[in-house]
């Protein structure tokens, strides 16, 4: 059932994504798709953490720290492209610190702790004491990755290219990680921490490590968004809504599969975008809350698991035998 070629899969996906602009001429559609791909990176970040059994309910904290880090670097020190890659190191560092401090917290308590982080980060980013750094509610204006002379549709094309290649790189990374020995270790920590540590696994080390990696990817997604389409950065980035999207996309897509966050973000981000225009942001979130609850109650393994089951069911029918290769 499981193919052994993660690089091939992500390469094919990239190829597919690169073909899309030749058929889709609408700038708006490309922009939506790029934002969905950035959301996929952000969802990968959440999903990697969840894969090791850690739930973050304040992932916007890492996204925001990465975005602020990159923007400040780009405004003060470096050209935009290196800052885009170096800035998220700040959120990785914060991730390591949070992982270390929260290493003894489980389940609910870790959730609360990370949830609190994002709330507090927002109040501090707005405070007078830190306004020399964050410029308070007025916010910062991240620089463009491209020369400003370029027309908008060319920039969107470039942004799309960048988002697609980064998302595919993340997809490859997550697949490789999930199939590696580290993936097994993380899975064992997720299933039973005590049993894992009795086998000599240094649980704390891996949990902290995953917080660092997850922090980097979340920061990267945040910085990428702010350097491309949303060229404005204010403390609103730490909002609860921002923390909830990667969770929604990963859970609905299937959080035990590398394909889950990708599927969730690519399918549901456009839906959320449409709903926001059609019924307003608040009702769109009510809708997604309802869907989330329904998914968890009825099929907690997500869309990708359902898809796998369908495929294996069809194969079994074709071969005339019962679903032997059923994806769990």
């Amino acid at each position: 059932m499981r193919s052994r070629q993660p690089l091939l899969r992500s390469g094919l996906l990239l190829l597919l994504l690169l073909l899309i602009p030749f058929f889709v001429r609408s700038t708006y559609a490309l922009q939506t798709l790029s934002l969905a791909l950035q959301m996929a990176i952000y969802s990968f970040s959440w999903m990697l953490l969840a894969y090791s059994g850690q739930v973050s309910l304040g992932h916007a904290f890492f996204m925001g720290v990465g975005a602020y880090g990159s923007t400040l670097l780009a405004l003060q020190l470096l050209p935009p492209l290196p800052s885009l890659l170096i800035g998220p190191l700040f959120s990785a560092l914060f991730g390591l610190a949070v992982g270390y401090l929260g290493a003894r917290l489980r389940e609910w308590f870790l959730g609360m702790y990370t949830f609190g982080l994002s709330v507090i980060a927002q109040t501090l980013a707005l405070s007078d004491q830190l306004s020399w750094l964050t410029n308070g509610a007025q916010g910062l204006f991240p620089p463009s990755l491209l020369p400003s002379a370029l027309d908008y549709s060319t920039s969107v094309w470039f942004y799309y290219l960048l988002s697609a290649s980064m998302a595919c790189a993340c997809y490859a990374l997550v697949q490789l990680l999930l199939r590696s020995g580290l993936g097994l270790i993380l899975s064992s920590i997720h299933d039973n921490e005590r049993a894992a540590s009795s086998l000599g696994i240094n649980v704390r080390k891996y949990r902290v490590l995953m917080f660092g990696l997850s922090g980097y990817l979340a920061g990267l997604a945040g910085a990428l968004g702010r350097f491309t389409f949303i060229r404005y950065l204010d403390p609103g980035i730490f909002s609860l809504e921002n923390s909830v999207w990667p969770l929604l996309f990963s859970v609905m897509g299937g959080m035990r599969y590398a394909e889950g966050p990708l599927l969730g973000a690519l399918l549901l981000y456009p839906v959320s975008d449409f709903l926001r225009d059609a019924v307003g942001g608040f009702l769109a979130l009510v809708f997604f809350g309802g869907i989330l609850a329904a998914v968890i109650i009825t099929s907690p393994q997500g869309l990708y698991a359902l898809l796998l089951r369908e495929i294996s069911g069809m194969r079994a029918e074709k071969g005339g035998k019962l679903g032997a290769a059923g994806g769990r």
């Binding site: 309910l57 003894r104 917290l105 389940e107 609190g116 969770l247 608040f282 968890i296 907690p300």
Partner: protein, 293 residues
């Protein structure tokens, strides 16, 4: 520090502390029975404030009169949420329970906002019949009746809750259930019904806190989140399931943050709880009172 400022801080700390205690007690009660942390506690709280506001406008009730009614309605909302969402996934995995409570936050907060934001646009305060009146103290200070009533209502409610928990048969069953579920079942305690009861009471406490909050300060659909985070911080600090600990923790936190606010600035007031929590986690990961978290 000036004696007058000190006194003012003390009063405000007692008021906000009382509200934290109500929220944290509700959380603790639900956790004790169902082993769920109701993340949406802050949202239920704002629902309570909003219901009092709407009842006040529609029926002309003053907030103290609509207080029991809105708490009851919020409790019923909680019961519905428990029946529809939580009961289906109870005991599957912790992650599912966490995700369902996040779904609940999304639904309640945004449903409130979709009504609140177009109607009121900005934060509103409940119109109390005693607005501005109070007892004059030395130094030109006024202790408003509202502050006194809020403190008295909170602690009377808590006293009633404790009496119920420690003097009634239902309370006895609840305490038994929080100690050992299997043992309680063997004694013929109806676990399903009591789970619903604890959710109802825990959420109703939040609704009550919401109306009280709305009486003393303006609220908007998002003001519940931060308060709930603080209530979480309190129960992490003092240990879950420890109802007395929640009371002490709530008051201590309110004192600490009001002093931080007076010295460092209001933004740091909200961070104080969290910084305190981080320090405690780093130094004593099992909470201040030594219970395992």
């Amino acid at each position: 520090m000036d004696a007058i400022i000190f006194f003012q801080l003390l009063v405000w700390a007692t008021v906000s502390g009382s509200l934290y205690v109500l929220l944290a007690t509700g959380l603790t009660l639900i956790f004790g029975i169902l082993k769920i942390v109701n993340f949406a506690q802050g949202e239920f709280m704002i629902a309570g404030a909003l219901l009092s506001l709407v009842l006040g406008r529609a029926l002309g009730l003053n907030p103290y009169a609509s207080l029991p009614l809105s708490a009851l309605l919020v409790g019923l909302m909680g019961l519905a949420a428990y029946r529809l969402a939580f009961r289906a996934i109870l005991g599957t995995t912790k992650l599912n329970e966490i995700l369902v409570s996040i779904a609940l936050i999304l639904i309640i907060q945004n449903a409130i906002a979709s009504y609140f934001v177009p109607t009121f646009r900005e934060a509103v305060q409940l119109s109390s019949p005693f607005a501005g009146e109070g007892i004059s103290l030395m130094g030109g200070l006024t202790l408003t009746y509202d502050l006194i009533l809020v403190i008295v209502t909170s602690w009377l409610t808590l006293a009633a809750l404790y009496t119920w928990l420690y003097r009634s048969r239902t309370g006895l069953s609840l305490r038994a259930l929080s100690q050992n579920q299997v043992g309680a079942m063997l004694c013929g305690i109806n676990v399903g019904a009591l789970g619903g009861a604890s959710f109802f009471v825990g959420v109703a406490l939040a609704g009550l806190a919401g109306t009280l909050y709305g009486i003393i300060t303006p609220f908007d659909p998002h003001s519940g989140t931060l308060l709930a985070v603080k209530a979480f911080a309190i129960i992490i600090l003092t240990g879950l399931g420890n109802v007395g600990g929640a009371a002490i923790g709530g008051l201590l936190l309110a004192l600490a943050e009001n002093f931080v606010s007076a010295t460092l600035g209001p933004a740091w007031k909200d961070a104080a709880a969290f910084i305190l929590l981080t320090i405690v986690l780093a130094a004593r990961p099992t909470g201040l009172l030594g219970e395992r978290v």
